[in-house]
């Protein structure tokens, strides 16, 4: 029985319990505490929730009882040259998967497998079931796999029985409590409240999951590669021989440089756009320009990346590269810091603009009126009264935009290149932390090698940098914000 069917069965039992419970109290002549459907729901919850809980617990615990005895039986003779017990275990699991499918198809009889089984024929059957085994497999391993398959099947059957028993037990427990003065609605609403709390807990689980998953692999990485080299080294040169130089500083330089260029583009344009739209623009212009700028925020970043790669990069190269309009040879490849940085700046304009717009609008009119009353022009009012009043919020907006720029991936993957170095020329290619995470995790490579695990260390560093920026932004805004009544 598949898991879908099992869960479907549990839900069906719950629904049946609902109708039975509801019918029981409807039949009573006495006055009920709650509406009949709450009694029904009470029964249904008591059937479904314990059963699902039992299912989850079994799924988590059972592997220890099924896998570990088998793993303990792996003797040294079974481990091939240069292999390990883990690899033998995963071979066993694969063979067992194939056997399970073959048994389900009816092409394999588990009881017929013993020391005399023709291994080639067995592997043909497995291949027909979709599991192809390469290389020579020890017959002892095959018989262990047969044990494993049998043990898994037994565990599966026991699980189904246990879960269904729990469901029925829950039904009996709930049914006996159904009396007319039983406070069904309160019970059911408590259950709903717990479900709501768990949903809110998903947010915490996500953060914990993010930090834990990256931390775990980072610790693995730091076991394989010195932390001093990672944090203080100056070269990024991964290779397959094993003596890669993996340091975060060149990548950090690339990330910060590109983000700086992006902010240099986004902040002046965004801020001036916000000032114009909130102070000077007539309603009609504001009604058109603001939505148009918001559209820039809705365009997926892959579009910006492709535009940088195919249009903007070659355009810059035509200007600054060999044989270009300016006759200089500053730019080699179309991909560069300027390409990615400027496109990222364009993407961030609406971000800065709409945040600043909200903040500038929050400054009360009385300050503006006072300034005008003293004879200032509009620009002087903005420069000397409004901007200082809105400054904490604007600084917060800039920091949030910086955090977004640091974490951006697609634009830099397509537009910035793959070379890690320390250079101040904005027309040269530089790589960033995010680009290298994608490259290291999607390339070929053993998962447990330092070259792949470094991506987790990079991800953790990135997470903490953006987290730090966001926290600082929030604190600045909260601490220095003027409270107008």
């Amino acid at each position: 029985m598949s898991y879908f069917t099992l869960i479907g069965l549990i839900v069906a039992l719950g629904v049946v319990g609902f109708f039975i419970g509801r019918q029981k109290v409807r039949a009573s002549k006495l006055r009920l505490h709650s509406l009949p459907r709450y009694y029904g729901t009470f029964v249904a919850i008591n059937v479904i929730v314990p059963a699902i809980f039992a299912l989850a617990t079994w799924l988590v615990i059972a592997p220890f009882f099924v896998k570990n005895p088998i793993a303990a039986q792996i003797t040294d003779t079974m481990i091939p040259e240069g292999g390990a017990a883990d690899l033998v275990m995963s071979d066993i699991e694969r063979i067992a998967t194939g056997m399970a499918i073959a048994v389900q198809n009816g092409t394999l009889d588990l009881n017929a497998i013993d020391a005399n089984t023709d291994l080639d024929k067995l592997f043909d059957t497995l291949a027909a079931a979709g599991v192809v085994m390469g290389g020579a497999i020890n017959p002892d391993v095959v018989s262990l796999a047969a044990h494993y398959t049998r043990a898994s099947q037994t565990s599966h059957s026991l699980m189904i029985v246990a879960v269904l028993l729990v469901a029925v037990g829950g039904f009996i427990f709930a049914y006996r409590r159904l009396k007319p003065d039983f406070r069904a609605r309160n019970n059911v609403e408590q259950a709903y409240l717990r479900i709501l709390m768990m949903a809110a807990g998903v947010a915490i689980l996500t953060t914990v999951g993010i930090v834990a998953s990256m931390l775990f692999e980072t610790i693995n990485f730091l076991g394989l590669h010195s932390w001093r080299d990672f944090f203080f080294g100056l070269n990024w040169a991964p290779n397959f021989h094993g003596d890669s130089e993996l340091a975060i500083l060149p990548l950090l330089w690339g990330t910060l440089y590109i983000s700086l260029v992006a902010l240099l583009v986004a902040v002046p344009i965004g801020l001036f756009a916000a000032i114009y739209l909130s102070e000077y623009a007539p309603k009609s212009v504001r009604g058109i320009a603001k939505p148009l700028l918001e559209v820039l925020a809705g365009i997926p970043t892959i579009v910006y990346g492709l535009f940088a790669l195919v249009v903007f990069g070659p355009f810059l190269r035509d200007l600054f590269g060999d044989g270009g309009a300016f006759g200089v040879e500053w730019m080699g490849d179309a991909r560069s810091v300027a390409t990615a940085g400027i496109m990222m700046g364009v993407m961030l304009i609406p971000f800065v603009s709409s945040l600043s717009d909200d903040i500038i609008n929050a400054v009360p009119q009385s300050l503006r009126d006072g300034s005008f009353g003293l004879g200032a022009t509009q620009s002087e009012t903005v420069k000397q009264v409004i901007l200082p009043a809105a400054l904490p919020g604007i600084v917060g907006a800039i920091l949030l935009a910086a955090s977004r720029a640091i974490g951006e991936t697609m634009i830099v993957v397509l537009g910035a290149g793959a070379i890690a170095r320390f250079t101040a020329n904005p027309l040269e290619a530089l790589t960033t932390i995010t680009t290298r995470i994608v490259a290291q995790l999607t390339g070929d490579g053993d998962f447990n090698s330092p070259e792949t695990l470094v991506a987790f260390a990079l991800g953790l560093t990135l997470f903490f940098i953006t987290l730090g920026l966001n926290v600082i932004a929030l604190t600045i805004v909260r601490k220095y914000r003027e409270q107008y009544e």
Partner: protein, 442 residues
């Protein structure tokens, strides 16, 4: 003029005033300049997308009458599908050569090319298309049937202006004589560009055959993923918002949850990809590159957006509604679910649509769970396989095409972007229309 101010008329403009007025004008100008730059960038992006992408919807086709010789395709003559399947595409290719010879004879085209070189202007996928059609209708064997076959990407590029006679000098895939031949075929009306539905509905193709690549399968993957996100993020997000807004006590645990949510909203998307890789693929052993896994990762990413917009919608419902419900004897839970939630539903709906639109365009986290480098060649056949079988999604497919660094694939990437933007624009317009329609001013 430096005369004392009490002898000066207000209508005399001093130097200082002139400077201040000039500064004012400059300041205004900067503002207008900023807005113009922003709108200009938008216009440049839009024109680039449209001009470069519409080419992908048109493809060059060659109309050929091909004689489906029974001697080559169905040697036993009994129209048995199993026997006919044994004839691979190698068996169909010579038929195209013969058809080319016939065309040259029929239209009196002068060309120094041999039939094999003439047939080379047809896409390598043509033989496979022919085979599929014959296997679907075995009765066609023995007749002369008109086929509309794709031309290869170089010829397509020639008709679209990508490939010129100068640029083919070092190209061994296409020669000047072939281009002459193509011109003559075009004059004879046998070769022309027409609307290519296969781009929208078809599957991706390998590096060698950009003319055959389509985004249809990736669209299905995107749809499956959006379905997962909707089914998971909406209930969890609304439940969490209701708890935080209505029921949570004001203690430090609630503060931690709220800080967590606003932090998650600002975490880079690639970190979610790492989370998906580490937990869903490595720990839970879910299939790589499956829309289910992509949906789970994007659910976690969209959750903060939905929670924030749902909380705003719940806050907008006035407290009088809640008080009235409680006054008539409802419990807190009943007042929330029977009264507050239905009134907040329009705001929740628009927030969800906007969150889904953001999720549709996300690429980075999906690259890490394996949707990169996967060539989506088969339509999934069942719902479960649609969710669990490896597939691609539209943004990842566009990235994959962009990576191939072939101008023919760039064109397809832009075409894919057009389709993606059509989806996004319609979703956002739907959200705006719904908001206008159901907005209530309390």
């Amino acid at each position: 003029m430096n005369t004392p101010s009490h002898t000066r008329s207000l209508y005399d403009i001093t130097d200082r005033t002139k400077r201040r007025n000039a500064t004012e004008k400059r300041f205004r100008f900067y503002g207008v300049l900023a807005i113009t730059l922003g709108v200009l960038m938008l216009a440049v992006l839009a024109t680039t997308i449209v001009s470069k992408g519409t080419g992908a919807f048109q493809q060059t086709f060659v109309t050929l009458r091909i004689e489906l010789l029974e001697s080559k395709l169905d040697k036993k003559g009994n129209r048995d599908i199993e026997d006919m399947k044994k004839v691979s595409t190698f068996g169909y290719a010579p038929l195209i050569n013969t058809a080319m010879e016939n065309v040259v004879a029929q239209y009196a085209i002068e060309t120094p090319l041999k039939p094999k070189e003439m047939a080379a202007i047809i896409s390598k996928s043509a033989a496979s298309q022919m085979r599929d059609r014959v296997l679907a209708n075995p009765d066609l064997v023995g007749q002369t049937v008109e086929f509309k076959l794709l031309a290869n990407s170089w010829i397509d590029g020639y008709l679209k202006g990508r490939v010129t006679r100068d640029s083919i000098a070092n190209n061994k895939n296409v020669s000047a004589e072939q281009l002459d031949f193509v011109d003559k075929l075009r004059d004879a009306g046998l070769l022309k560009k027409s609307f290519n539905m296969a781009f929208i509905t078809g599957a991706d193709a390998s590096d060698q055959r950009p003319e055959d690549a389509g985004i249809g399968v990736a669209m299905i993957g995107s749809l499956a993923m959006m379905f997962v996100v909707l089914a998971l993020a909406l209930p969890i997000g609304v439940a969490a918002s209701i708890y935080l807004e209505e029921f949570a006590p004001k203690n430090w645990i609630t503060d931690v949850i709220e800080v967590n949510i606003s932090n998650l909203a600002a975490v880079p998307s690639i970190v979610f990809g790492i989370l998906g890789l580490a937990i869903f693929i490595n720990m839970m052993h879910l299939p790589q590159s499956a829309p289910l896994v992509g949906g789970l990762v994007l659910t976690l990413m969209t959750l903060p957006t939905i929670i924030i917009s749902t909380r705003a919608a719940l806050k907008a419902v006035p407290p009088s509604i809640r008080s009235a419900a409680l006054g008539l004897g409802a419990s807190k839970m009943q007042s929330v679910f029977h009264h507050v939630l239905p009134l907040a539903a329009p705001g929740i709906l628009t927030g969800t649509i906007i969150g889904l639109a953001q999720a549709l365009g996300e690429t980075a986290p999906l690259l890490l769970i394996g949707m990169i480098g996967y060539i989506a060649t088969n339509m999934p056949d069942t719902i479960v396989s649609g969710l669990m079988a490896p597939n691609s999604v539209m943004p990842a497919q566009i990235y994959e095409w962009a990576k191939r660094a072939d101008p023919a694939f760039y064109e397809r990437a832009w075409g894919g972007i057009i389709i993606l933007l059509v989806f996004l624009i319609s979703m956002n317009t739907l959200a705006v229309i719904l908001r206008r329609r159901f907005e209530r001013r309390w």
